[in-house]
Structure formats: C-alpha cells, structure tokens
Subunit: 204 residues, 2 copies
DNA sequence: GTCTATAAACGGATAGAC
DNA sequence: GTCTATCCGTTTATAGAC
C-alpha cells in the first residue's frame, strides 16, 4: 500500500525527477552527517555533479533544507492528519494516527528524519513556519490524548507527558529501524501501537 | 540527591575547573547547533576566549567530542550500570535503570544529548570505541528485558523492539524536558517508569 | 594561560563558457 | 543542464610574543 507517491514527496514545484534524486540524496546525507556536517560538495558528489552543476537545481543550502521539510510536512498533513480527522472515537483515531505515522516514517525515513532532527538549522521565517506546523501536528496528537482523558479512558495523569512519550516512541523507530531487516513493517506498526496503548489506556 | 559530582563529569584528566566550563559549554552549543554547526570560534566566544586561547586547553575539535562522550559514558556506567548490577529481580533492576538513567539525563542534559545524537561525527578509533560502549549499555538494558521474558512476565513478543521502545521513550525526554518547568524531575521519572512498565509487563 | 598573526583548507555561492 | 574558474568569508589549527 503506497502512502503517497515517492516522486511527489521529494519533488520540487517543477516536479522533475532529477530534483527528486537530489533532495532524497541530500536528506540521506543530512541524516548521516547532520546539516552542518553535510556540504554542498558532498551532495553534488553523491549525485554525480559538480557544486556549480548542483546550484542550477537549488537556490541555496538553506532553501534545500526548507524544501525538504516543507514537502515532508505536507505529506504528514496529507497522509496522517487528513485521513484521520473524521474518526470520532479518540482511541481509534490515535491508533490510526500511529499506524500512518509509523508507515510514513519507514517509507520516507531520511526526509522525515531531517524534519524531526534538523529544525534547529533552519533560519528566520522558514524556521518559524516549520516549527509552527510541527507544533500543530503535536497538538493534533495531544488532542486525541485529551479526549481519551475526558472520556476517563486514560490511565496516566499527565496528558502532555503522555503525548511526548507516544511521539518519542514513534520517532525513535527512525533511529533503529533498517529496511530489509528482521521485523517487517507491519510487525513494527502493530507492536508499537500495542506498546503505546497498553502504556496509556485503562484495561478494557 | 547528587548522582555524580558535576565538576567531575566534565573534567579532563587534569581535573581543572576551567576545563569543566569549556566542555560543558561546548556540549550545550553542540546540542543546539550540532557538531558540524558548532565552530571552535563559537565555543571560544561562549567561554570568553579567543580561538587560540581555547586551543591551549584542547587538542582538537574532534578530541573534544571524544572526551565529552567518554566522560558521559563513564558516568553512565558508574551511576546507572554499576549500582544496578547486583539487583537480582529483572523488573526491579529495569525500574532502577530507568530511574537512574532519567535522572542522569536531566542532570547532565547537554553532554548526554551529545553522546546520544552526535556519535556519527566521531572519527576512526574513538568512534568504534564509543559505539561499542553504547552497544554494551543497550545490551545491558536488553538483558533485563530478556530475563523478564524468560520469567514469563513480558507482555510483548519482540525483546529487541521492546528494548528500543524503552530507550526511545527515555531518550526522548532530553528533547522535551526543560528544567524549572512544570513537571518536577521526580514526576517525570515516576511517570516514565509507569508508562514503560505498563507497556511491557503483564498485569500482576 | 591568553593573546595577535597567520597558514592552509574548506565552505557557500556566482560568472560565464559550452 | 553541466562544466571550469573564481570570489570571499570561515574553519581548524599552529607559531610565537607577552
């Protein structure tokens, strides 16, 4: 099941395939070596170009980072938030959010990792924008937890800390999961959902 | 309750106070801007010195990173692993590991964050060494989970994934916890332990 | 132990040819 | 769309004075 078209995710507004490869490679390098540790030269070399050649495709290193984050954030809103908005039951909604979030994490690992861990390197307006969108997503998850608490189905005291723990567990997957290895995606998804729901919900 | 003397943690072998300040400041900057994004000039400025002045205290930027990680790793082994080795019951041991780990995380936040997230920037021999020590700690935690499974007290299927989720939850705290804010350290410790134990243990 | 000065390399980014 | 050549600021690191 495709969550979203892979090309679209990393495409620039012009939507060219070459750009997709550039941004994907850049994301991979940034995850491996950090934004500051990844030079334009590194990226150029990885896609088989010179620095100047690369600059034909990008505006600046900073803008690259912004574009990667924008497209991933778009995807999260499109494939995680939108499809779950209409789920009335908070437990079911939270389960679905987690399922889609983990699936996206695994499919678009590097770019999502950049979004999660390199926001500090964004500058000025772009930074504010991405930070706000990330906060909004956090709020969206927290809202489900709040509804669970209001319904008396939450086992824990702190809604905020609970939300943090849920998201930490999910984000952590990006650090240890490697494709083509033992646990299949679906196992990871299911066991993560079980882990979290057992942790936060009253036994039914 | 002091986990370990703060000066000792970041002291160089010579054990001078000035060095402690330098390494602590360096760790803070590296957490904020990443290893690659933090220059020797930044660190020098933050401690009120020139770059050359700073080089009297350090061998190289790379060596700084290695020293920070070594001392934090030493601390983890000393204040988390050693005091829990003799606890026979795996559940009690795991609880105590989590308690001490979270406490250390909060007390020595920046340096621990560097250990957790900047290992990729270590080079050659030092990198191998630190990576192995981190693996050993991971194994130590996983062993408690394995013993719980052998005793039939584990509710989950995968020991490895469970260990990852436990450590993700703990490490995540470093990303959202800010001192002098609402949840007191002890609340964080207790609720985190509850979160994890509910997630992984069969109801007793 | 801290400074000024400087070396040597690398960084992001641009101009202009093809 | 990719290249060579180049600009210029920054980076790590050292030499040597005080």
């Amino acid at each position: 099941m495709e969550i979203v078209d892979r090309t679209r995710l990393m495409a620039t507004p012009e939507g060219q395939a070459r750009n997709a490869e550039i941004y994907r490679t850049a994301a991979e390098l940034m995850v491996e070596k950090g934004f500051g540790g990844t030079s334009i030269g590194d990226i150029a070399q990885a896609v088989g170009m010179t620095k100047s050649g690369l600059y034909h495709h990008i505006a600046s290193k900073q803008d690259m980072l912004y574009k990667i984050m924008t497209y991933v954030m778009d995807s999260v809103e499109e494939v995680v938030v939108e499809p779950t908005r209409t789920i009335a039951d908070p437990e079911e909604r939270l389960r679905e959010i987690m399922r889609l979030h983990v699936n996206g994490l695994i499919k678009y690992g590097p770019a999502m990792s950049v979004l999660m861990w390199e926001v500090n390197h964004l500058e000025s307006a772009g930074r504010t924008e991405i930070v706000n969108r990330k906060k909004a997503y956090h709020q969206y998850v927290q809202f489900a937890v709040e509804e669970l608490e209001a319904a008396g189905r939450l086992q824990v005291q702190g809604v905020k800390m609970t939300t943090q723990h849920i998201l930490s567990t999910i984000r952590g997957i990006a650090r240890w999961y490697s494709p083509n290895k033992s646990p299949k995606v679906n196992e990871v998804v299911e066991e993560t959902i079980n882990f979290v729901t057992r942790a936060i919900l009253k036994p039914s």
